[in-house]
Point group: C7
């Protein structure tokens, strides 16, 4: 996947429809399928779960995530 | 619902008139019916309740929520 | 009131001259009559009181509140 | 005074030359005569005093206050 | 000096070449001669000293100070 | 490398395809190969690892890092 | 050097190629040779060292520093 990344948003575009891990500033971690993003890095995740120490803390379903709370986004391996 | 989401704000648009859970930066959680939103993600919730550990802490009625305090917004299941 | 809200600022407009509760980021809560607001959500409240645990902590009279410290604004029931 | 307030900055304009109390994000409180303000809510206070628990902590003379540290501004009663 | 202040930046302009006290968000305090400022309230202080409890903690010489860390700026009495 | 740096972004441009260490505001440190960056200093790192006390804490694979959480970026020696 | 400073960025321009001390919001301090800066006060330092209590904690080599984490920048005496 790394070969096609010329700008940072290309990685988000390549990750649409795939599961991503999102690390948030307050220490929360969410996992879900990336449905949409915009230039503010606002995201929509489907089948999202909140994780705590790698364990499923609760199911959130579909969520809108504000971009300014995000530290990093990583496609699940 | 996931099929119609092309941009993050589409999820908010689809959620108008429905109950949403809003997670805020300070640790607060609100639940209420989404009446309106704007591009700053400012929201108006009707019949809003503040939750603490999933329990109803107090009824707020109709509230204006500033977008920059929001972590995520999720339509109630 | 909920029927007339198309954009978030409509709620603030509808609340002019009425008592509102304002929750601030630092944990403070103010109650007062909403006299004015602008697009930054800067507010002027008249007969404002600072609350602590729902009790009146001190009377502030008329106050200018900076919008970026606000979490939510709710018309008093 | 409340009758003439149509926009939030009107209150600051009405308060020029009068004593105001300014509550800051870090917990500080200043009192002084409002000499000037701008749209960023930067202020100049004359004869400013820093307060601690309502007591005079130190005299600051004339001060420039950055608007983004301000929670609220209230004309002294 | 108070008579000539129409806008907040006038105070900074009047203070060029004079000693000012600068209070920063992280609790630091600097004293030095104000050489320059811009609209972001970035400052250059000459012969700057960092203070701790009013005592000289260390000499910094000439410093560039980022405006967004500043709470207030006061000409030394 | 230092000779060719005229603007800060030149260093990031020179570091493309190389391993960089990224220090984040929350105390996290990531190491990975810099694939892309933009003017917001959003980054994409490949083969990224999260470090704790210099030890590998977990492998993240390819990650999108939001620029506003970054303190510094340094090409690995 | 103080005579030639008309705007804050003049100090940074005069400091190119010289050793500077940079104090960061999180408490970190870096020392290094200033190679480049931009209007966001993003910096590139060469031969940068991270200091702790004035002691060399680790060598960073060449680093890109994000401007919004900086408190002050001072040319080493």
């Amino acid at each position: 996947m790394a070969n096609k990344i010329e700008r940072p948003l290309d990685l988000l575009n390549n990750s649409k429809g795939k599961e991503v891990i999102v690390s948030l500033k307050g220490g929360k971690q969410l996992v879900g399928t990336l449905l949409a993003f915009d230039i503010h890095i606002n995201l929509v995740l489907d089948n999202a779960k909140e994780l705590e120490n790698g364990e499923n803390k609760r199911n959130l379903g579909i969520v809108f995530l504000r971009g300014d709370t995000i530290i990093f986004i990583s496609p699940a391996a």
